[in-house]
Amino acid sequence: MNQMNKKYALLSKSEQDVSQGVDKGKRTFIGGLVGASGLAVAPGVMLYQTASAKPVEQAVSNAVRWGMLVNVNQCAEDCDDCVTACNDEHGLWPKEGSTTDSQWIRKLTVKDPSTGNAKSLPMMCQHCENPPCVDVCPTGASFKREDGIVLVNMHTCIGCRYCMMACPYKARSFVHETLENQLPDSPRGKGCVESCNMCVNKIDAGDNTTACAEACSKAGHEAITFGDLNDPESDISTQLKAHGGNQIRADLGLNTGVRYQGL
């Protein structure tokens, strides 16, 4: 057996091929096929990579700052698809007229009493750069991620509700009742405070959008643009640069991550 191997190793490449009965033309064909299919799949793989979920071990970076831009002029008064989508995404389903059920996003009607001009707009956590809720939280359960998303750590929230007292946007809700049918991607806790988490589950999964923005687009209004405020080329940044955008209670100097056009 050893002698046979030695003899085989002394043969040239072409002689080896012949001795193994390999058809060179077939090899070239298969190689070409693999190369072509690789070329066909590669863009998909590449695209998948750019939109891929952030690996768990990879820390969130402040290179991005997620934000949303609401174009109030495109927000239809009779539409609340963003609210429904949020409730479905996070398993909220508040009862109508309930003073205790959580509302992470709500539609506001803002009317100027002197002119009668009324506007409709969605209101949610404004994901401030300097969030009062984070400042006042005694345990640090309210926190801001590096990418600008303001969240509540459900493990360390003691349910003191001081953040609700401090939030200028009335954006937070306290869970008043035992929860049933929670959704795995959106953990909540009885006795804890919660608010819009900018669909952090979707962002971390690489969806690059929020349930409300998605629903708004689906309804054909395109009133909510989600994106990276730090990226000057992003849709949200270019829109803000071209048409501007207001912060609600800008006087408080909170530098909100949610901006409004047409107010």
């Binding site: 508040p94 109508e96 003073t99 205790t100 059920d101 959580s102 509302q103 709500r106 539609k107 506001l108 009607t109 803002v110 009317k111 100027d112 009493p113 209101m123 009062p132 984070v134 400042d135 006042v136 939280c137 005694p138 345990t139 640090g140 360390t156 929230c157 003691i158 349910g159 003191c160 509700r161 001081y162 609700m164 007292m165 401090a166 939030c167 200028p168 946007y169 009335k170 937070r172 809700s173 306290f174 869970v175 008043h176 009742e177 035992t178 806790g189 009885k190 006795g191 804890c192 405070v193 609600i248 209670r249 408080l252």
Partner: protein, 400 residues
């Protein structure tokens, strides 16, 4: 017999045990109410996502504010050198600790997750005034405990003045912290003013002293120990000054707000058309909690009557509760001004005055806190020498 002697009160009488059992029951009902609220969720309370702090917070802040005020009686002797107050110092420290314990019990039991108290005690966000308060409260227990030791142990008495001074400074910082819980809230029109911290300090002076006088007179009456007019009238006059000072701060708070047009709406709400809050302000806080007690204290007909003084103290406490209710609940009931000058409406009750009806559970929890305070005092005075055996004029004078 004109020397000052301290002695624990007789704890064997049926009256004492009836008091102890009564207070124990109220405290237990309070704790059970809190447990019920925790099991069922806060949905059974009157609080909601608009009025997030309700009756438990009114009781808790009331007791915490009273705690720092009750310590004043001891401070007047050791810090300001008024020796006639010295015999009252031990009870002052005991009552201060008991009031703080009662207030904190209510505050903690109302948390959404009271089981996570250990998180609050071990994980701090030092930018939060609430976290500072946790340190201020625990520090208060330690400092007042040490001060009490200095007052009660001959060997430690040499540190009494320094301990008293430190405790006095600490209590001022503590009440500043309590007032700042609201003063730091920039989002709400009724808060967001540095006035709240000094106003809370002044409120603590009046509420704490009123609480002290009631406990002192009741203890002496029930234990049948003599108490002379000298010390009682001194405290009566002091209470009068404190009531007037609180009213001054209330006036400054509202007048400064009225100066700024942006605050006219919230002032109109509190002073003119705020329904229950307006009524509480004028009838309970100002009339019953301010003017009537002042009249009882200074009117010649009632000036030397202890029943009038007790009535004045009770009214100060009721007025103080109303004051804190207006600050905490009234401040939240007024709509948040997200879009100044605009009319706002939503499914989340934006732009509306929020309604709040306290539930029985919250009120029972609040009274549970008061019972815990009184229980601690009742037990304390029976096991240690907190109370002088006599506060007759010759004893009070003797120390002078």
């Amino acid at each position: 017999m004109d020397t000052l002697r301290y002695g624990a009160i007789e704890a064997r009488s049926p009256k004492y045990w009836a008091l102890l059992i009564g207070l124990g029951l109220v405290a237990m009902i309070g704790v059970l109410s809190a447990h019920h609220m925790e099991v069922e969720g806060h949905v059974i309370s009157g609080m909601n996502n608009q009025i997030v702090w309700g009756m438990p917070h009114v009781f808790a802040v009331f007791l915490i504010v009273a705690a720092s005020g009750a310590l004043n009686v001891a401070s007047i002797a050791s810090v300001f050198g008024k020796t006639e107050y010295k015999p009252l110092g031990r009870l002052s420290a005991l009552l201060a600790i008991a009031l703080l314990a009662g207030g904190l019990a209510v505050l903690v039991l109302d948390l959404g997750r009271p089981d996570r108290l250990i998180v609050a005690m071990t994980t701090y966000n030092f930018k939060s005034i609430f976290a500072w308060n946790i340190l201020l409260y625990t520090g208060f227990f330690a400092i007042v405990g040490f001060y009490m030791w200095c007052m009660m142990d001959h060997a430690m008495q040499k540190f009494s003045k320094q301990a008293g001074l430190f405790a006095f400074i600490w209590r001022l910082v503590l009440t500043t912290g309590t007032g700042s819980i609201f003063g730091f809230l920039v989002a709400r029109s009724a808060y967001d003013t540095a006035m709240l911290a000094p106003m809370f300090i002044m409120m603590s002076f009046a509420i704490g002293l009123a609480f002290y006088i009631i406990v002192m007179l009741a203890s002496y009456q029930w234990s049948e120990r003599p108490i002379g007019d000298l010390i009682v009238n001194r405290m009566r006059n002091l209470l009068g000054i404190f009531i007037a000072a609180v009213m001054y701060f209330v006036a400054v708070y509202h007048v400064t707000n009225l100066y700024a047009t942006e605050h006219h709406a919230v002032e109109k709400f509190l002073l003119v058309d705020g329904g229950i809050f307006t009524q509480l302000f004028w009838y309970v806080q100002i009339l019953l909690g301010g003017i009537v007690p002042l009249a009882l204290i200074y009117a010649p007909q009632t000036r030397n009557c202890r029943r009038s003084l007790l009535a004045a103290c009770a009214l100060v406490l009721i007025g103080g509760m109303a004051h804190i209710y207006i600050i905490i609940v009234g401040g939240q009931a007024f709509p948040m001004e997200m879009f100044p000058g605009m009319e706002v409406s939503s499914s989340f009750f934006d732009g509306e005055v929020s309604a709040y009806t306290p539930s029985l559970w919250e009120i029972l929890l609040g009274f549970g806190g008061i019972a815990i305070t009184l229980l601690l005092v009742t037990v304390g005075v029976a096991i240690l020498d907190f109370l002088p055996e006599s506060l007759a004029d010759n004893i009070v004078n003797y120390k002078k």
